[in-house]
């Protein structure tokens, strides 16, 4: 600590970052609130409409379709990611070459782009040209190709879920492995001596002692799923009939192709409110870990 120097010197060092956040995060946030209260487009004059945009959202069936679809997607993918991620962590937790290699391979898709992985799976699931229909037909599970995307909203969602599980399951796995490694080994050994079976030890020792990591990863995953865009933009394009257009997708559609910036801002504000609740929980949880 530079106790001798003026207390403004430190401020000088953080000033550029403060200015950046002020201009490119705080100001847009304030403007978003302002925009949401107006009928705002790039061409026409803006008009104050009060809560008009929010009332419009409330009465907009597409707003509810998108919100419901986003919540459903989040509710379905999160447990799959957590359970599968944890099972892979248990499988590969020991530091032996093959298991470490497996861990590395499972993690690899995390670093590639969501856009690239979505395009890759868009191809794999393609009706005519995709390998998944080819494999399923060769194995004899289906008689003719399946239309994965664009015909049925649920089928489209499940195809997207498969691709996202492949893409991000390693995220949880690596954090779970780190958490399991941090569990003192003598607790497990003592339980083993007491005759506890493997699954008893997992249930009674490993799971409770890694519970905080599980909660944090769950929250991160929930936030990520609530903000889903790339995968649906690329794989389903919101089809059929915008039934797979997520909340972020709807904001994008209203703000940019339709240029209803005021309405887009109102939708953004609602979404930001939902995310805020999750983030607050996350911050509370991780703060307690430092104490």
């Amino acid at each position: 600590m530079h106790t001798g120097t003026s207390r403004y010197v430190g401020l000088l060092y953080i000033a550029p970052a403060l200015a950046f956040v002020l201009v490119f995060t705080a100001y847009p946030l304030a403007q978003m609130v302002w925009m949401s209260l107006h009928n705002w487009s790039l061409i026409a004059a803006k008009k104050y409409v009060g809560a008009g945009n929010f009332i419009k959202a409330w009465n907009d069936p597409q707003f509810w379709t998108s919100l419901e679809f986003t919540l459903k997607y989040t509710a379905l993918i999160t447990p799959i990611l957590m359970i599968l991620g944890y099972l892979i962590a248990l499988l590969t937790v020991e530091n032996r070459p093959l298991r470490q290699f497996t861990r590395g391979v499972v993690f690899a898709p995390v670093v590639i782009g969501l856009g690239a992985s979505s395009l890759l799976w868009y191809w794999l699931f393609s009706y005519d040209f995709g390998l998944i229909n080819r494999i399923l037909m060769d194995v004899g599970l289906i008689a003719k190709p399946v239309v994965w995307f664009g015909a049925d909203a649920d089928l489209s969602m499940w195809a997207v879920i498969v691709s996202i599980v492949w893409k991000v399951v390693g995220f949880g796995t690596i954090l779970f492995v780190a958490a399991i490694h941090a569990v003192p080994s003598d607790i497990g050994e003592a339980a083993m001596v007491d005759g506890a079976s493997y699954w008893q030890r997992v249930r009674l020792i490993t799971l409770p002692l890694t519970a905080k990591t599980i909660l944090l990863v769950t929250l991160v995953s929930v936030i990520g799923s609530l903000l889903a865009f790339d995968q649906f933009y690329i794989m389903t394009a919101g089809q059929p009939r915008n039934m797979t257009a997520t909340s972020v997708f709807l904001i994008y559609l209203n703000s940019f192709p339709y240029l209803k910036l005021g309405y887009g801002a109102a939708l953004s504000l609602i979404l930001a409110g939902i995310i805020l609740v999750c983030t607050m929980l996350q911050m509370l949880l991780s703060r307690r870990s430092h104490a």
Partner: protein
């Protein structure tokens, strides 16, 4: 421990020993199966990118290319404004993002870690504002702001958004790194008459190089892969980044329908830099990941 107790425990342990041999093979088999399933999509994509134009459009698709060909890469090279344009756009945005992140967060981390500042924790939370408000929700006003500032369709504009995304994580990592620099080192330097800027550049900076690599690596990966912000602020074909042009190529190509071979070539090309940097700098990646991913 009583003797009876120890005796009771001996049996399950014996059974566990017998099981262990078979279990080991089972676990190994599960690991191999898991790795195969995870790698297959990537392998399939790379193989498909090496098929000839005709074979890439075959129905049903072939599993393995009958003959290797670079046709798909050639078509990608010449697609629209050409791969070099898109590649350099992506690279340019990523390099600018790294630069902005470092220029902003190295001093900020130093200031937060080493100085007494009035209301420091409040300022810190303000700096982490991007964590609380997702950038996806801010794109509408940001787009408007960028139109006014003439930053739309510009790599600088895109890099600014990517920096805003990465800023909270980067500040967190840099602050922790500076806090870990021993105070004795600085005190000695101050005794020798160094001012705070010299302490930063000569004493602290060499010690936080690993954190700077972590920050740069994550900035690169985020910027290289980001789609939505690019979609919003880049609407001129020649200013597209790789994810944008690939998303566009999904629908409209020179050969009528989707050019699947070219798409796979594009996916392969866009995955390579990420994978390469990750594998080369795995140590720095994991350091950042384990410390910052969920905090």
């Amino acid at each position: 421990m009583t003797r009876a107790y120890a005796h009771e425990a001996a049996e399950p342990r014996l059974a566990a020993g017998l099981l262990k041999g078979r279990l080991k093979y089972l676990i190994s088999a599960a690991c191999v199966a898991m790795s195969t399933v995870m790698l297959l999509p990537l392998v399939a994509s790379v193989l498909a990118s090496l098929k000839s134009t005709q074979e890439a459009a075959a129905v049903p698709p072939t599993y393995f290319p009958h003959a290797l060909s670079l046709d798909s890469y050639e078509r990608l090279w010449n697609y629209q404004a050409g791969l070099p344009t898109y590649f350099s756009n992506s690279f340019g945005a990523a390099l600018l993002t790294i630069l902005f992140c470092l220029v902003l967060t190295v001093p900020a981390g130093y200031g937060l870690a080493k100085f007494r500042i009035a209301g420091k924790e409040v300022l810190f939370v303000f700096l982490l504002l991007g964590l609380i408000v997702p950038y996806q929700a801010l794109l509408t006003p940001l787009f408007f702001l960028f139109v006014q500032l003439n930053l739309h369709n510009s790599l600088v504009g895109l890099a600014i958004i990517h920096t805003a995304i990465q800023l909270p994580f980067s500040i967190y990592v840099m602050r922790n790194a500076f806090e870990a620099v021993p105070r004795e080192l600085e005190e000695a330097a101050i005794m020798d008459g160094c001012n705070s800027f010299q302490v930063l550049t000569q004493i602290c900076l060499p010690a936080v190089v690993p954190a700077m690599i972590t920050v740069s690596l994550f900035a690169f990966i985020t910027s290289w892969n980001e789609l939505l912000a690019a979609l919003v602020i880049m609407n001129k074909d020649s200013s597209f980044t790789l994810p944008l042009i690939l998303a566009a190529a999904r629908q409209q190509t020179s050969i009528g329908g989707t050019d699947w071979g070219m798409l796979q070539a594009g996916i392969t090309i866009s995955i390579i830099p990420c994978m390469a940097f990750y594998l080369l700098l795995q140590k720095y990646y994991m350091a950042g990941f384990l410390n910052g991913a969920v905090k």
